[in-house]
């Protein structure tokens, strides 16, 4: 017999957990399906204090926010299935693969909160062991307590590259330098300042062109080079760095394949990180029973992921006619105000522009 849930959530990160809590608080029965064996998504490895306002738990470290959200899930009887990989979404069922079995789960509404995957860039030997995505370095260091390297070249000076460089220093790993292809630092200046006052150089207009290494050790070094305004290496500016690890923090791409597969209308918006599902303010896709939240709806960060999650969970409850529609609408309006407030600075412009473009496409339906 096929198991039935009112609302299924794919992904147990900040967006998925927030969606589950928001819907469950309205009386919806919710199950989360998460492919990892530890819940919390990327929050569990964020050791820094978060930005935001008081209602977003600002000043609290990401890993502590994960625990707060997980506790709320427990309070609301949300079931979290771990090592549960959703392999496909059909008319009203999910296919879920566990290490030892496969099952189908029937849902009335679905929240897709699958997050994002890390981008890769082109350079010689870019698949050598010892080249990690920034998230992998964080997992090893901050979740499992393993020092992944002696000395690191960081590629990318967005907030992730800056924050992970800082966390590497906290784990007593040397960061040789940060290379940034653009003429300016990508992330917040306050994060860059933390790195620079420790003496870590941020080399703008620079990139990695080659990883050095061998079959026994993996990475043993890296060659970086200055690049011109068309991102072409400037001959004669190559430098060899003796590093055992190269960390790539070169952006994220929404993990939207399940949304595309289940028939949601898709579009490509570079400001949001690539291919995303068209959706409205309330995170509802062109398939009325399917909602989305977090990085899968466009690359942003954890606070907006939790707000979008709350919206998606409430909108799903409303769609299923569960809970008090007036209370739900009021709550949703409140969250929309918070989201707009959060994005109301120069760093929120991309997300605002992206979501406006999405809304346009949605209204053409």
């Amino acid at each position: 017999m096929i198991r039935k849930v009112q609302m299924a959530v794919i992904g147990g990160g900040p967006a998925g957990l927030s969606a589950a809590v928001a819907a469950a608080s309205q009386g919806v029965t919710v199950e989360i399906f998460d492919d990892n064996f530890i819940p919390g998504g990327q929050l569990i490895k964020q050791t820094h204090k978060f930005f935001g306002a008081k209602q977003h738990l600002c000043g609290t470290r990401g890993m502590d926010i994960a625990q707060i959200l997980l506790d709320r899930c427990t309070q609301h009887n949300v079931i979290i299935n771990q090592q549960a990989t959703v392999t496909g979404v059909y008319a009203n069922t999910l296919g879920v693969l566990y290490p030892d079995k496969f099952e189908e789960v029937e849902f009335k509404s679905l929240v897709v909160a699958t997050g994002a995957s890390e981008n890769m860039i082109r350079f010689v030997n870019n698949e050598l062991p010892g080249i990690y995505g920034a998230g992998a370095i964080q997992t090893l260091m901050n979740v499992f307590g393993i020092r992944p390297a002696q000395n690191v070249l960081m590629v990318g000076s967005g907030n992730i590259g800056l924050i992970v460089s800082y966390q590497l220093k906290q784990a007593e790993v040397e960061v040789e330098c940060i290379v940034e292809a653009l003429p300016q630092v990508g992330g917040y200046q306050v994060h860059a300042s933390k790195i620079q006052r420790m003496g870590i150089p941020i080399l703008t207009n620079h990139t990695i062109i080659r990883a050095e290494g061998n079959e026994q050790e993996g990475v043993t070094g890296a060659i970086i080079s200055e690049i011109d305004k068309d991102f072409r290496p400037v001959p004669g500016t190559e430098k060899y760095l003796s590093v055992d690890t190269i960390c790539l923090a070169v952006g994220l791409t929404p993990l939207a394949d399940l949304l595309e597969q289940c028939g949601c209308k898709m579009t490509t918006i570079s400001e949001l990180g690539g291919r995303v599902a068209v959706h409205n303010h309330y995170m509802q896709t062109s398939r009325p029973d399917v909602f989305l939240a977090g990085d899968v709806s466009g690359i942003e960060e954890a606070v907006t992921a939790t707000l979008e999650g709350q919206l998606a969970g409430l909108a799903a409850a409303k769609y299923m006619n569960i809970g008090n529609p007036l209370i739900i609408q009021n709550k949703m309006n409140e969250i929309l105000i918070q989201l707009n407030e959060f994005r109301d600075g120069p760093f929120g412009e991309k997300a605002t522009y992206g979501s406006q473009r999405l809304l346009k496409e949605y209204s053409y339906e």
Binding site: F51, Q170, I200, G345
Partner: protein
């Protein structure tokens, strides 16, 4: 890396630091918080951290925090609360104006001892002056961010923003 490789297009000495600094008479009166946050980012915990209500952010949470130097007592409570670790407290000794102090947020292993001699680093991590650790605060409120006050020559209070221990490489 050697210095010539340190091609910094992004200077962290903000040109407009001079615009936000309090008048010298104010610094001579008592220590004061310097908020080195010059970008509109969605963040406001500094506002609530101040028991004197000296810090404010206009409309919403994205504007640049403003500090009323007359209300600021230099208590350092805001230092560990800033997620960007961008708030420092500076002071000058009333009796001996050549002596100054800088309070810095610090999140690394092996906290220095009070009285320990350390090396004051500038915003680019370059050593600029010897300094002595005057105060080390870690409590539940600081949530693992240590608040460390250094004594150093007063001419460096606007320059030193970090330190290294003599024992470290």
């Amino acid at each position: 890396m050697s210095e010539d490789q340190n091609n910094l297009n992004h200077s962290t000495i903000p040109e407009f630091l001079t615009d936000i600094l309090p008048p010298e008479e104010r610094i001579l009166k008592r220590p004061v918080a310097i908020i080195e946050c010059f970008q509109e980012i969605p963040c406001n915990p500094c506002v609530d951290s101040c028991p004197q209500n000296a810090i404010s952010i206009d409309e919403g949470i994205n504007r640049i925090p403003q500090i009323d130097y007359d209300l600021c007592t230099g208590c350092t409570l805001c230092v560990p609360k800033c997620p960007g670790l961008a708030i420092f407290v500076v002071g000058v000794d009333k009796e001996d104006k050549t002596k100054g102090s800088v309070t810095i947020p610090y999140e690394f292993n092996d906290l220095p001892q009070i009285g320990e001699e350390v090396i004051g680093l500038n915003r680019q991590g370059k050593p600029v002056t010897p300094a002595v650790v005057k105060k080390v605060i870690v409590s539940k409120i600081t949530d693992k961010t240590a608040v460390i006050t250094l004594s150093l020559p007063s001419e460096f209070i606007h320059e030193v923003r970090f330190f290294k221990r003599q024992s470290s490489k």
